[in-house]
Subunit: 516 residues, 2 copies
């Protein structure tokens, strides 16, 4: 393989041009992942409604991303639809094939891609079951073809199974893994090809057993789902099968667990030797039970609930291990670090706009932020204001590395005023004005605006002290931090002081008492 | 069955006396669930170290509960160890059997329980595979025996599969479900008995397939675990198999999904017709791969990480649907409502201690609250202070029902001072002093103390307004709320005013500038 092409300045990944062949639910999810990472995407899909379907998946993905992370996404990549496969792939660095699951169809489409794409372009197939060696047959450049099998919803679930065939070059696998990592996904390399790879084989085994349990009236679909989501489903969101059993084995670990539970394998616990006949009666039974379980919620509503739950779960895992993150949460934390760093590169921090407070944070009201009044909870305002302070600190060089080296700014005092409410999903924008500073102190005034009309909903006045975190006491900030702070502070000193600064709780609100 | 025995005043459940026969990891988990719900538990376990093992599980459970919920647990039930089965069960209302998984042993122990327990006592078996009808043979009162199969860690995973045998009375199943619900667990009734019930059959099917994939070197255990936890594991923490596939079917729903994916069942995707031979070589292979995956983390460390992740996931699901909760999170929200209500019953709100501010909140620093400095994040202080305000409001009758009826108190202004830091797991205690009030306004001063020595780490001064939430404007509180507020406000008016009240940000801190 040749070396990766030069990186686009606005893209997070070591590529900037992708082609997606097939734009259904899976193809649309791929398109969203690439476009939101700042990569230009050309799409070919003969379906008459392809543009509408892709637009819907992209809107879902953008909403979910907005809830998932407050880190700054790069400018969206350009999305365009092409009339032929050849046109879509002509300049692509990565081609993702997501056409229906039929070997003959996939081979035909892959042959077109292979003929029209640059010879060094990577070709990933979204197949969930076909072996890559079978897909490679007859290609002129089979060494750049591999399976990249994602999971629905592709824009939220990070997993991609990467599987090479007999002709796949090792460099192809390594490049694919690097690209996926750069756009926030988790490329997991399957060592040997096998039909259905790993995830779908596990799912298929469980699915067959589930169908028997429903057919034999052991339970209905809602009960079976509840058994999963109140027990091992919770476990598997963070540790898989083997690590869970390692813990169950206690201090003696995995070998002890196997010695204890191995014999169960020979018990007659499973009907899996037979394949259940999915006849009309069983389809209707499952369909009716599934309707009852949905309890009036439409697919769209279930989808929204699922996405918000996944967002919450990944965010919870991001907070694991004292903020280091675990599993899908660590992946998000790492991705956000790169997003912040890329956003920093896009900015010109040395030439601040002196005519207005700094616009530092843009985010959205997350479902987890809503209280029993239906509004954004009190402490989430302070979370956004805290993020605003952090954004200012990063701009003057006080970042994670600075903190790890033993110094930081600590907030010692805060005054919040609530002026209006924010609702679920609303965009939020926070600004910061430096009121005063010296070598130890930083006196800030933040304002928070909501919605497209930008109505002011809260203000925060903060006093921070520069501290030696080991000694636990205030100490002057170093010259390089003060040097970055100075031009901002000087510019802000020329702005009018906010009338609400310097107030105590209840002050200037005495007039309300008269109307009480 | 007779009617349930009278409720203990300190217990959440319709029973107050439980016996646990067997106190290993599963038995210990049951003991923790009951004791933390305020139920007295008598234990029989002949293991010489039973007391130590149970104490360890109980400590883990108490720590996890402390992280999971800020709601007030009832006073712990009494835990005592007995020398015989007969002594343990003599006065029990529920007996939980958790002895090793051998039919002959279980039958012998159940016969002892049956003979010595009151005839109306419920008997639950923790068996993970044996049919309840096989366990009922020879009992004098088989109608009160059922399977109550929990999942590890029992103190965090809410699921209990309830399975009746041929002799089990319908009332037994209903009573068992009600008791489990009362202590915060999810009793799911399996309609027909079958070996291994539902959860373990599903797990077994997937486990067999997983062993084949490892044996055949398709992937190693870490890759297999990653495939699970970066994809369907995240899905299954909140929706099960069928609801997930219903969404995948799109607007056409479940029947469409089955038509589309049903044919895969006939594909040769699974080796499940054979049982893998778990010989020494395979055990050693899995053991070595599992060691590599653990990457130096001990079982204890993995256990702690798992528990904290589960806490975070359940809390995320509790925030779902704008705070209504979903799945395990809704279960927690409902449980917490009952805890708060039970705590309210235990208090005497009409006779407040006038000599000190009200102690309203006790909680613990959760892993999700820690920032990159290693301390409790800024906005979590406001979360605890917000909970303190909510606790005061409930005490004057402003609870969820009051808010749903159209009125509430909104915070309009807050002043926070940070005096010291809090670390992971530290206990926190918050007090509230009413500084002033009128028919619309409530002016509060909270103080937050950390650790056993109760060092003061923060204060919060709040101004709240009573509002008509529909109209979105301030309105006088009704007479019954003001009547509950009055005695508290009068008592607090006699306390000295906190010196920090009424201050603006930066005020009285000017002296620091001189030392800068």
């Amino acid at each position: 393989m040749t070396t990766p092409p030069p990186c686009s300045p606005s893209s997070l990944a070591p590529l900037s041009r992708v082609a997606c062949i097939g734009g259904g639910v899976i193809g649309g999810g791929w398109i969203a992942r690439f476009v939101l990472a700042g990569i230009d995407v050309k799409v070919f899909d003969p379906h008459p409604e392809a543009e509408r379907i892709v637009a819907e998946v992209l809107a879902n993905a953008e909403r979910a991303y907005g809830l998932l992370t407050g880190a700054p996404l790069p400018p969206r990549g350009r999305l365009s639809f092409c009339a032929t496969v050849a046109e879509a792939v002509a300049q692509a660095q990565w081609v993702q094939e997501s056409v229906p699951e039929r070997l003959d169809l996939k081979r035909r489409v892959l042959a077109q891609i292979d003929a029209a794409a640059p010879p060094e372009a990577l070709i990933g197939s979204s197949t969930s079951g076909l072996k890559p060696s079978d897909l490679q047959e007859g290609l002129a450049h089979p060494e750049r073809l591999f399976v990249a099998h994602p999971y629905n919803p592709v824009y939220l679930l990070p997993l991609v199974e990467i599987v090479g065939g007999t002709e796949t070059a090792p460099g192809t696998i390594a490049q694919a893994k690097a690209v996926l990592e750069a756009i926030g996904m988790k490329g997991v390399v399957i060592a040997r090809e096998i039909e259905a790879f790993v995830g779908d084989r596990l799912l298929e085994a469980l699915w067959r057993e589930a169908l028997w349990l429903i057919k034999d009236d052991i339970c209905d679909v809602e009960t079976l789902d509840d058994v999963i989501r109140y027990s091992f489903g919770l476990r598997w969101a963070q540790m898989g099968l083997f690590q869970t059993y390692r813990i169950a084995g206690g201090e003696a670990g995995m070998r002890h667990f196997l010695a204890q539970f191995g014999p169960c394998l020979a018990w007659p616990w499973s009907k899996l030797t037979d394949v259940v006949d999915l006849d009309d009666a069983l389809v209707e039974k499952i369909g009716a039970q599934s309707d009852a379980q949905a309890d009036g919620l439409s697919i769209r509503e279930l989808e929204r609930i699922r996405d918000e739950n996944l967002v919450g779960i990944v965010q919870a895992l991001k907070a694991s291990r004292e903020g280091e993150g675990w599993g899908a949460g660590k992946l998000l934390a790492d991705f956000e670090r790169r997003l912040w760093s890329a956003a920093g590169d896009r900015r010109a921090p040395d030439a601040p706009d002196a005519s207005a407070p700094l616009a530092l944070v843009e985010t959205r009201v997350s479902p987890a932020w809503i209280d029993y009044n239906g509004h954004m909870t009190e402490h989430r305002y302070l979370q956004v204001f805290g993020d605003t302070t952090d954004a200012l600190l990063r701009r003057i060089g006080v970042d994670l590395a600075y903190v790890e080296a033993g110094h930081s700014y600590y907030t010692v005092e805060t005054h919040l005023r609530h002026l209006d409410e924010a609702k679920l999903g609303e965009t939020l924008r926070a600004t910061c004005q430096i009121l005063a500073s010296d070598d130890k102190r930083l006196h800030l005034f933040h304002r928070l605006f909501a919605g497209p009309e930008g109505r002011e909903i809260a203000t925060a006045e903060h006093m921070l002290l520069h501290v030696d975190t080991q000694a636990g006491r205030a100490t002057p900030a170093p010259a390089e931090v003060l040097a970055r702070l100075a031009p901002l502070a000087e510019a802000h000193a020329r702005l009018p002081a906010p009338p609400a600064a310097g107030r105590a709780v209840g002050q200037k609100r005495a007039s309300l008492a008269a109307t009480a």
